[in-house]
């Protein structure tokens, strides 16, 4: 909601800058941004009472002297005889109607009404609707204006539960379905209560006689309607959060005053229906409890002074909650009021000591397995549980985001397979992934199953021992058995024939319940550690990689470590990674053979062969300067 700084400051006696008001609003919990003298407010859903100029002023009055000098019409008003029936009194317990006939339709606006449209840069509609919109801004109470000439017949308010057509005053046709609170005449919907009026009875630039409806609707009856029918409505935003049920007389008298400032009123009459009396909410004065909740030492007088400034009434040891504060019912609510006024940041910390908990870590096996997999070069992934395909035991999402996310997965393996293919397409020649997650099926909706799934393909590792070994069921089973002999991972090959890939490497995977592991896992001694500091992430390139291999023959053994150190520490902006993929110490021939793999990739462009050649040439030129080093086959 947008509220102009100038509109607030004109009612505050102190001469405040926009920054001072902004600071106070933040302290009170009213988030906002400021744009060109306008506060763009975002209120918490419990503070419907603040959705107006006066609402904000009521809160600011706890810090400043606020003069609510908005004039109202004070003379006695004639009774308005309207043919109205309320068939849903519990939903609309209070409603008033004002009928006005004016002499001329004003073309120029004055005072607050004029400032409202100019300062907030709003488009005008027609005179009565403009007054109604301004009043909603000023008081927080939405009103609806009917062209009186269009109201022919009995006006009925009721909650209906049937399909009905309705054309809004925004000329949008909607089909009402389910429960809706409506106003109707002769069974024709003329107003979707609390949301938007109808076209057939709306005011126009020619309207001289208006019926203004001012009502309280139970928020529960309005919530969700604007979203359901895709209607942006200031009125529904306010009714959903709750309006003041006792403001009708003042609001309608203010309506009259604003109209009278612009044109002569020929006739006016009013009727108010109060079907159910609003309960008065009283909370015992208990400053000790407030101090205990907040952890402060506030005096009785300061406490009551704050509440009085916020328009609470103190009477016979009770705090009487004003009718516009539907959010205040308990001592904790009052404590929050006090804390806001003091300022959350001004409340001192009080040392907390929670008794030490001696519970064992119940996820020990899970964590051991995670580190076991890290030790073997596996990366942990997390996948969304939403999938598009249904299995026999799939749980269906009643309201999915789309048809590709209509079911909950019944296994982790399929998600990992997608992850594996994604990384293979990104030229990764060793892909090793795992995920641990809860799995739910229609058979066990109330009892989760926690699974671990592992998948891998390509080379066993990117080092000279593992580079030439391919991942296979046999290799992986042996590796896991050698290091964790108590467990059977039951690896299986996953058939590539149905997959969208040309890569031929064997895909190996497994999926097991965590319950299937033995406590022997706890004896595993991991050498991987979680990072002790948080690593700053470098953005990823989506451009293709380029790979080059260089194999050296080292006859002068003293140069072996020299070349290794030079290459492994070589830096270039397009060199992403280098590692030793081959090493052989041929003692008989007195020769060391060492192979390096270079992976190139740029952050911002596809690298060319020429660029890679330049880097490789630099490395070759340097290394071949050493005696006893050659690159067999190099011309």
């Amino acid at each position: 909601m947008k509220i102009a700084y100038s509109h607030l400051s004109q009612y505050i006696e102190e001469n405040l800058t926009i920054e001072q008001i902004s600071y106070s609003l933040f302290q009170l919990g009213h988030e906002h941004e400021i744009d060109d003298g306008i506060f763009d407010m975002e209120f918490t859903p419990n503070r419907g009472d603040c959705l107006s100029l006066n609402g904000l002023l009521r809160d600011l009055a706890v810090f400043y002297t606020v003069n609510f000098n908005q004039e109202i019409y004070t003379e006695k008003l004639e009774d308005f005889h309207i043919d109205f029936e309320n068939l849903s009194e519990s939903i609309c317990p209070q409603i008033s109607f004002l009928k006005l006939e004016i002499e001329n339709i004003p073309e120029i606006y004055k005072g607050s009404l004029d400032n409202y449209f100019k300062d907030l840069r709003l488009n005008k509609n027609n005179f009565f609707t403009d007054v109604s919109n301004y009043l909603s801004y000023e008081t927080g109470q939405p009103t609806h204006c009917y062209d009186a000439d269009s109201i022919k017949g009995r006006l009925t308010f009721q909650e209906v539960n049937e399909d009905k057509e309705f054309e809004t005053l925004l000329e949008k046709k909607i089909n009402l379905s389910g429960k809706n609170s409506i106003f109707s005449i002769n069974n024709e919907v003329i107003n979707l209560a609390g949301v938007v009026g109808g076209k057939s009875t709306s005011c126009s630039g020619k309207t001289k006689t208006v019926i203004v409806e001012c009502a309280f609707f139970q928020p529960e009856a309005i919530i969700g309607k604007s979203v359901k029918y895709d209607i942006k409505s200031d009125a529904s935003h306010k009714f959903e959060r709750g309006v003041d049920p006792e403001c009708h007389d003042i609001v309608l008298r203010r309506f009259i005053k604003l109209v009278s400032e612009h044109t002569n009123i020929k006739t006016m009459s009013i009727i108010s229906y109060n079907y159910i009396n609003n309960p008065i909410h009283r909370i015992p004065v208990n400053v000790q409890k407030i101090n205990q909740i907040i952890g402060i030492d506030l005096s009785d007088s300061d406490y009551l002074n704050y509440l009085t400034k916020l328009r609470f009434v103190i009477e016979d040891g009770f705090i009487i909650v004003p009718s516009f504060r539907g959010d205040i019912r308990t001592q904790n609510d009052l404590a929050e009021e006090v804390a806001r006024v003091i300022g959350y940041d001004n409340i001192s910390r009080l040392e907390i000591n929670i008794p030490k908990n001696e519970q064992p870590n119940y996820k020990d096996i899970e964590n051991k397995l995670r580190y076991f997999l890290l030790d073997h070069g596996f990366y942990e992934v997390i996948n969304s549980p939403f999938v598009g395909h249904q299995f026999k035991e799939s749980i269906k999402v009643d309201n999915p985001l789309d048809s590709n996310r209509e079911y909950l997965r019944t296994n982790i393996k399929d998600s990992l397979l997608d992850n594996l293919l994604f990384n293979e397409k990104r030229q990764k020649d060793s892909v090793k992934l795992f995920e641990i997650s809860d799995i739910y099926t229609s058979n066990s909706i109330h009892s989760k199953k926690r699974n671990i799934s592992i998948i891998c393909s390509g080379r066993m590792g990117l080092n000279y021992e593992d580079f030439s070994k391919k991942i296979s069921v046999k290799n992986l089973t042996k590796l896991f058995h050698d290091t964790l002999p108590s467990e059977d991972f039951n690896f299986k090959e996953i058939n590539r024939s149905q997959l969208n890939t040309k890569i031929k490497n064997q895909i190996v995977g497994c999926e097991l319940s965590l319950d299937s592991f033995t406590k022997e896992v706890l004896n595993y001694k991991s050498f991987s550690k979680s990072p002790d500091k948080f690593i700053l992430y470098q953005s990823i390139s989506d451009l293709p990689e380029s790979k080059r291999d260089l194999s050296f023959s080292v006859k002068d053994y003293s140069k072996s470590k020299l070349i290794e150190s030079y290459i492994l520490n070589f830096k270039d902006k397009i060199l992403k990674k280098v590692f030793v993929f081959d090493y052989y110490n041929n003692i008989k021939e007195e020769e060391i053979k060492i192979g390096f793999r270079f992976i190139f990739q740029s952050q911002n462009k596809t690298i060319t062969d020429e660029e890679v050649d330049l880097v490789i040439k630099k490395i070759i030129d340097k290394t071949l300067n050493y005696d006893g080093i050659s690159i067999p086959g190099l011309y």
Binding site: I294, I347, I352, G377, K432, L433, I587
Partner: protein, 241 residues
């Protein structure tokens, strides 16, 4: 030849994997909270409206309960938990105060854009004892944030609204760029929630807090797009070890 025998091969660099940065962040926060005295409790991701909403004082008409905000399953008889708070409700029903629980894990909301995902992670904590105050809650939050971001970080508390806490607050930290960034929500447990869990609100009070893991991980690692966490891209994952 004897010289060649003595030459050590190159260091055998075994490629170590890495924990997912979100799980690593979650574990770090949970370990920190365990060191403060909290006990880890766990619960289901498929919940009932009773535990996810009713017990937490979230009214039937609250917008969060609508089909456009919450994923429902099993013909609307169950839902995917929208926060980890129901785990604490179950914990409070099982144990008597004093009690201090934390729960962490996946939660689901019907969002999907550049800054929100339908699945994300939370860690939430609750401490119920006699005479727990907002000033003590502040102390705990300061300790958590100082542990995560260092003692030089500036933070502020803003009044907020959650149906299950009263008073409620949101906590921001000041970024290096001078912008306030929301880090967590917290408050004193609403006495209605204590009553729902058969805990006498006249004798006991409680504090509660919740952190979004992705948000903190993004800040700590400098990740600007939340979706990067869930692409399972090895170039991304291999940076976090």
């Amino acid at each position: 030849m004897s010289e060649l025998i003595g030459i050590l091969p190159p260091e055998l660099i075994k490629d170590r994997g890495s924990l997912h940065p979100i799980n690593h962040m979650k574990d770090s926060i949970m370990n920190l909270l365990v060191s403060f005295g909290f006990e880890i409790v766990d619960g289901p991701e498929i919940e009932t409206e009773q535990f996810n909403f009713d017990m937490l004082n979230i009214k039937k008409t609250h917008p969060a309960r609508q089909m456009h905000d919450t994923f429902y399953v099993n013909n609307k008889s169950n839902l995917l938990r929208t926060h980890t708070s129901p785990v604490q409700i179950r914990g409070m029903l099982e144990k008597k105060p004093p009690l201090a629980f934390i729960s962490g894990g996946k939660v689901y909301r019907k969002d999907d854009d550049a800054t929100h995902l339908p699945m994300f992670h939370q860690v939430e904590g609750i401490y119920v004892d006699e005479n727990i105050s907002f000033a003590q809650l502040k102390d705990l939050i300061y300790k958590i944030i100082y542990s995560l971001f260092g003692e030089d970080v500036k933070l502020r508390f803003r009044p907020s609204y959650f149906p299950f806490t009263e008073p409620s607050a949101e906590v921001d930290i000041l970024s290096k760029e001078g912008k306030w960034l929301e880090i967590l929500g917290c408050g004193l447990v609403n006495p209605i929630v204590l009553e729902n869990c058969n805990i006498d609100p006249n004798k006991y009070s409680g504090l509660a807090f919740g952190l979004g893991i992705e948000r903190i991980a993004m800040l700590k690692h400098g990740v600007t797009d939340i979706r990067e966490f869930y692409k399972s891209n090895l170039d991304f994952l291999s940076q976090f070890k």
